[in-house]
Symmetry: C2
Subunit: 487 residues, 2 copies
């Protein structure tokens, strides 16, 4: 049960930054605001600019300072789709807003809607994908290693894993859900993906009301198609979550009806996941359902559970009856204009639908993270070697000879040469086809006396006489354990 | 139409390495071999060991030398599921076999089967996922950057992109397909994922009989659920392909009926994708369909199109009629033992099914890659700076002061500090929560005279007096373009 509505007189209106955005954005925003107003949502809108117009005005991040100021002030955003015009901007305005306000958690409810026919209709699909939103390969830190070999860094942090897991647990608690599935590729990436598995399991053990399980992420994608009913809340790193949340949206009608929230300590941004659909923009036929469902998440976020419930029931009644739907979801005919669909939802306010899952909503209890540079101390640290990535057109044996000669008289022994994660020297068979990018592993003959930098820079100069190196990684041990993969 | 069967007398028997594997592996292998023998496949099996038993014998890669020798001799493998017992092996035997023989292409047909009911039945889903198999984050090259920050390298090569795209084109041509969809995350990872987009589009333009398109990979996952009929052949990097191929298998009945091939220059390995199912091993009830479908791919690979066609029709007739199916796919009752299912398929040899897609198969024309260390030369190269990754618990402004002081008098200027891909110095707002891992970008004040190593090692020593650095990337320009991302 939602909590009972509070008398209007005692409720302050909550300020919310509204970013209509591009394409159909202004139309679906207006439609959503009309429904919220008719339902009596105590929201005061601050309209703000972001997207194509901002880029064209020369604002590199796609959002002017006034918009950032408004978000900093209100802490709550409802946002339409944003475009990055071709030729502008290194990153999208969406990514910029998420990063500026460290909205580290992306929450994507995946719930069957009445009247939206899919191959999974009637099975009661109802789960939430929680996706880490600021780390992983998504950071886009890339370096060409050689003219034909590109590298991107996948960075995962313990605190990032803890934050996203606690958010998943908070989402589960806020919606009375019982299980959290941590989905990772820990079997292949033991340190990065394995970190979410390890931290996720540790953190979730603190929530006795929640069951938790781990699932390999490719199996999770498979299971979402085979038996989506089994999921309740899932949590994933950024790139995996990107793919699986879009997959999941497809199970219940697609991006046109998929809401989302981006949550952080300083701000929460609610947005439709779909694009700006420029081909139908301005025609008054866009479907505002995704943004309206996002607005319901927003109303619950600001504590207005009763209004969210009123609108949710009216929307479900409208979808169930199937009259006056927009063209993309109409069950017969060509569909009606956005305005007629909105009128119908408003007319249905006060009606109750049996299709809305009975759920006791509470606010999402986000842990507040201190404004610091986070770190974890290690009780012991050792520097045991260095991986030097070299460019060479030669074969591994030839490379081993010059590298061993280079290391002669240095503090290091060459112990292994690898190519894309496979050992190619000492020879263990196979690998007749190679690329000009090799990792040479050098281990200290004996532990360095000081910080080891003199020894490493000496080695780099020796190697540099014969080989072009482009990338160095120290090999460390933390708390007595190797802090690097073997191969 | 398949080509007409050649008279047996003129056909040599092709040697194939059979690896029964673990759990239900021996049962499904025996079943598959029985069907092939009954259909007159001209195959001579060399049985070989890999998996749990090999690990227990102390063979770190999970496959003894005799097995590797057999594969090197035959060049063709049919393989059951392999286990890695807990506590053994850094990598699975599957991965080891793929890497040893550089089987760079994973081919996963996704085709609706008669009588296997799924939410997508009747829509004629029929496409192929081609996944790069040896590069990407799958290489598992990981380094802890600080005690709480893990890193994995995502490595993508031009030649790897070319090879996998040519394989996708060859698969399309071998099966008379018309379209190849290149699915990447090029919008976020311009150098790595963007490489597959760029090379893929270049290579596919050489095949006038094939249409090609690019799709963002998360949208591709969404489209596979929304409208899987649109796909013909898709091609992806390793991790994305891992997830999307398992998703796709779910559309047509799941891993229990999903065949696959791993292709390379030196060997081709055909295997079921499912696990070893130890809970039903030895009970004689396992479903051999996935391995049998894999064996059909193998028969076509060795040019025995007629036998493949005979078995495919018999299998489809069996599935359509629905009598004598194993428990996992039985439409009523508890299902029959493996042996009864196999007898039924054999009894149906010679019958024709209308459900088998009419398709003119040709051998997959794999380009043979030279046994070299591949490289691409750049016409010009410049070394313009270095990214130094430092560990620090301080805030970005404090770090910038010490780093600038360290660079004072060096060949470099500090131009930027980033945290997980976002600029945090000079300050552009936001980012109150940070981790102890920062990237400091140093640009040469003027182009270095020599190879720049003396200047870099000087900088590293200066920085090392105040900061712990653990990772270095040279900033290069190839052919006049920045070979690194801006942020």
């Amino acid at each position: 049960m939602d909590s009972a509505p509070m008398p209007t007189a005692t409720r302050a209106r909550t300020k919310v930054t509204a970013i209509p955005g591009d394409g159909i954005g202004p139309e679906v925003m207006r439609a959503t605001q009309q429904v919220l107003a008719a339902a009596g949502a105590e929201v005061e809108w601050e309209e703000a600019l972001a997207g194509a117009e901002a880029f064209r005005r020369g604002i590199a991040a796609g959002a002017p300072q006034e918009t950032l100021d408004s978000i900093a002030r209100t802490g709550v955003v409802l946002k339409g789709p944003l475009e990055t015009p071709v030729g502008y901007g290194e990153k999208s305005a969406n990514v910029a807003l998420r990063k500026t306000f460290e909205m580290y958690g992306n929450v994507r409810p995946v719930r069957e809607l009445p009247g939206i026919r899919t191959p999974f209709s009637g099975r009661g699909v109802d789960f939430v994908v929680v996706r880490e939103n600021v780390e992983d390969v998504y950071a886009g830190i890339e370096h060409m290693q050689t003219p034909g070999v590109a590298q991107c860094l996948k960075l995962i942090t313990e605190v990032g894993c803890e934050r996203i897991t606690r958010l998943a647990a908070a989402v589960a608690q806020a919606e009375g859900r019982r299980k959290v599935t941590v989905a990772t590729k820990a079997n292949i990436m033991k340190l990065t993906e394995g970190m979410l598995k390890r931290i996720g399991e540790q953190v979730l053990a603190e929530y006795p009301g929640l069951q938790h399980e781990h699932m390999i992420v490719d199996n999770c994608a498979h299971q979402m198609v085979i038996r989506p009913e089994q999921f309740d809340v899932t949590v994933m790193t950024n790139m995996n979550g990107d793919i699986l949340s879009d997959l999941a949206a497809g199970l219940v009608g697609g991006l046109g009806v998929a809401p989302s929230a981006n949550l952080g300590d300083e701000a929460a941004m609610f947005e439709a996941v779909h694009g700006s659909a420029p081909q139908i923009a301005g025609k008054g036929v866009a479907n505002p359902t995704a943004l309206l469902l996002s607005a319901l998440m927003m109303l619950r976020h600001i504590g207005d559970f009763a209004t969210a419930r009123r609108i949710e029931h009216a929307l479900y009644v409208t979808l169930e009856e199937g009259k006056d739907l927009t063209g993309d979801i109409a069950r017969e005919g060509e569909g009606v204009p956005t305005a007629v669909y909105v009128e119908r939802i408003i007319a249905n306010l006060g009606r109750e639908s049996g299709a809305v899952p009975e759920r006791e909503y509470r606010p999402i209890a986000l842990k507040r993270w201190p404004q610091i540079t986070w770190y974890r101390a290690a009780s012991t640290r050792e520097l045991v070697g260095v991986d030097v990535f070299v460019e060479s057109e030669r074969d591994p044996r030839a490379i081993s000879i010059t590298l061993q000669a280079a290391a002669e008289g240095s503090a290091f022994d060459l112990t292994m040469i690898g190519s894309r994660g496979a050992q190619v020297w000492p020879d263990i068979g196979g690998h007749s086809f190679l690329v000009d990018h090799f990792r040479a592993r050098f281990m200290f003959k004996e532990p360095p006396k000081g910080n080891g930098i003199a020894e490493i820079t000496d080695l780099l100069q020796r190697i540099g006489r014969q080989h072009n190196w482009m990338h160095i990684e120290k090999l460390q041990r933390f708390d007595g354990a190797d802090a690097f993969s073997k191969a």
